[in-house]
């Protein structure tokens, strides 16, 4: 009887834990899967096509990198109950605050343009004109925030996150050799070819894993959701599950293009989709749907990250739980960035390739600063109390931050000056 009572107790406890997790989870999974945005999908598809399965081991390394950086935002948000923009203003003064806020706005706006490029490109494969895509997406994103509350918004976003897993059945459809995937993918090795191109690809993959908007978004999302100190453990679980999903999705994209397009130079996602359609009709269609979904998910998060940040600093009501009448500036700003970035895609002969390149370069001016602010805030006992970084956390996150700063800077330089690094 005693063991039965114990078993029942553990069963009830586990059930309760699962229920709490489902209530608290959301920001981590959404931000991580939204990280596989239109630009991310293109990068993974291009990496798979160029190097086959050879860089799967590298994607696995990105899991702890994404987790350790994003986990800090969960603690900071739950303890201070403030978004990162407000925390930077308050802790580092208005000069650093304005720099971070305006840079974030610029980077987010440019990234939003690239999401719309991805969405219109994906649907143009189904002969849907860009103007229709832009109008429908803007209307949908408007209704999503105006009609609901934070909870509704989060559940709808999680639905799109689930659609992001479309690449998993795709990989099974192409029937890759499991032995090759394990043998080539899990043993770190230099796959040959130009070392510069290889290094550029590694840097592009890191660049898509950690973006400034993700850090701002998750912290604001944690605050809007109302996470408390006692919920930090669940927020951390939410983040690690999200990080695992994002890496799994990236690996499966790499397996698809690594199996069907190995050795082909891919420059854009629509090129990958068209090539895949020639090989396997359904996989091309799935990839196009996935690309649209990735762009939409990215756009949903990025536009909110900007409005939240501005709302925090300007003192506007800035919660999705507020109605339009209660938070007019928050929603006005949301629609302003949404509509203005969407319209760029519709301008004939707009320099869309330059904009895409620009995003990576401008992001480099913000990412190091945000990582430094985050580390300093997490080390301040006055702010964080018992939740401040431990020595081991500092060693891990410090090393990750330094590596990201160096690689992101090199990436920006190689994008600005393509002939700077001699071919090896």
């Amino acid at each position: 009887m005693n063991w039965f009572a114990k078993l029942f107790y553990h069963y009830r406890r586990t059930l309760k834990a699962i229920r709490i997790f489902f209530i608290i989870s959301g920001p981590g999974i959404i931000v991580m899967l939204a990280d596989n945005d239109a630009g991310g999908i293109t990068t993974y598809a291009a990496t798979g096509a160029k190097y086959g399965y050879s860089l799967i081991w590298f994607l696995l390394l990105l899991l702890p990198i994404a987790y350790y950086i994003q986990e800090m935002t969960v603690r900071l948000g739950a303890v201070t109950k403030r978004g990162l923009a407000e925390a930077i203003f308050d802790s580092f003064g208005s000069h650093w605050g304005w720099f971070a806020l305006l840079d974030l706005m610029l980077v987010n706006w440019l990234t939003l343009v690239t999401e719309f490029i991805g969405m219109t490109t994906a649907l143009s494969i189904f002969k849907i004109p860009p103007i229709v895509t832009v109008i429908v997406v803007c209307l949908f994103m408007g209704v999503m925030v105006v009609r609901g509350r934070y909870w509704t918004w989060e559940k709808v976003s999680l639905l799109f996150c689930a659609l992001n897993l479309i690449y998993i059945p795709c990989a099974f459809l192409v029937k890759p050799s499991l032995e090759s995937v394990l043998h080539q993918g899990l043993i770190p090795h230099f796959p040959g070819g130009s070392f510069n191109e290889f290094f550029f690809m590694l840097m592009a993959n890191i660049g898509t894993t950690i973006a400034p908007w993700m850090i701002f978004f998750q912290q604001s999302s944690v605050v809007d959701k109302g996470l408390q100190e006692k919920d930090i453990i669940w927020g951390q679980m939410d983040t690690i599950i999200g990080a695992a999903f994002t890496v799994v999705v990236a690996i499966f994209i790499m397996i698809v293009t690594g199996t069907l397009l190995k050795g082909i130079e891919i420059n854009s996602a629509d090129q990958a989709v068209l090539l895949l359609m020639k090989n396997h009709k359904y996989i091309g269609v799935f990839l196009a749907i996935g690309l649209f979904n990735a762009g939409l998910l990215g756009a949903i998060c990025i536009s909110l990250a900007s409005s939240w940040a501005f709302g925090e600093v300007f003192g506007w009501a800035h919660s999705l739980n507020h109605k339009v009448k209660e938070a007019p500036w928050f929603y006005f700003f949301y629609f302003l960035i949404l509509v203005s970035s969407a319209s760029v895609v519709l301008i004939p002969n707009a320099p869309l390739v330059t904009i895409t390149l620009f995003v990576q370069v401008i992001a480099v001016t913000l990412l190091p600063a945000v990582l430094v602010f985050l580390m300093l805030l997490l080390n301040d006992e006055k702010i964080m109390g018992q939740y401040k970084n431990t020595l081991s956390q500092n060693i891990i996150t410090g090393s990750i931050a330094v590596a990201i700063i160096i690689l992101a800077t090199l990436y920006a330089f190689s994008a600005l000056f393509p002939n700077m690094f001699p071919t090896m």
Partner: protein, 72 residues
């Protein structure tokens, strides 16, 4: 109904716009006053890191300006 002359509409619009701009400038000044003193504990390490960050950003902005100058 009497038609309102265009001149009045322009005056009202420019007055409202001026009022709006002044309001925003005041708001920015209020934010600057509110966050004038940094509240983070400024340890020597924190001070050094922020100094390095400042130089890094100045260098990066310099490179970007150079690039655009040469492109244009």
């Amino acid at each position: 109904m009497k038609k309102v002359p265009k001149k009045f509409i322009t005056i009202i619009f420019s007055e409202r716009l001026g009022h709006f701009i002044n309001e925003q400038i005041e708001k920015i000044e209020r934010i600057n006053r509110k966050y004038a003193v940094p509240k983070v504990t400024m340890t020597p390490t924190a001070r050094r890191i922020l100094m390095v960050l400042r130089f890094y950003l100045i260098f990066l902005v310099g490179v970007l300006v150079y690039k655009f100058w040469t492109v244009i």
